[in-house]
């Protein structure tokens, strides 16, 4: 489960910029997982 930035016990290194993430995804030949969150 993704909660507090953790998926299945692993800490996630989140990116914050779509533009930078697209460039990184192209370079590393990966996809993007975009999480829209809301701090209640």
């Amino acid at each position: 489960m993704m909660e507090g930035g953790v998926v299945m016990g692993k800490q996630i290194q989140w990116e914050a910029s779509l533009t930078a993430t697209k460039a990184k995804a192209k370079k590393e030949k990966k996809f993007m997982l975009m999480d829209f969150y809301n701090d209640l």
Binding site: I12, Q13, F31, M32, M34, N38
Partner: protein
Amino acid sequence: MENNFIPLQIDFNKNKALVKRYAVKWTPTIIILDSDGEEHHRFVGFLPPEDFIAQIILGKGKVAFDHDNFEQAIQCFQEVLVRYPKADAAPEAQYYLGVTKYKASHDPKELKLGFEALQRDYPSSEWAKKAQVYSLIP
């Protein structure tokens, strides 16, 4: 996950442009995109670990499917069915497995086999209903 995806977190309240662009109305909304920013799969709400991972693998398969990478798509859909057969993503994975095998082979029999698998394993799912028409294939 890090082998396949770059994770990106967007604050719903602070990035209205992206919220509008991707028509996000509720959080969490998880969207799987290719490296061009094109959306291929999404789901809304908190999920238990197995359902979450199954949705991610399903999304990876749908990116591959949309890019005509049928071999990788089939691997992903099969992975969902083998590792997470009870996940809510499984019936959709079964549907797309049949469709992908058909697209790869051009053999309509694959659609019928896909329907039969849905009818057997997930008979009450919406995906079994969507595949019902393939039962007519001789």
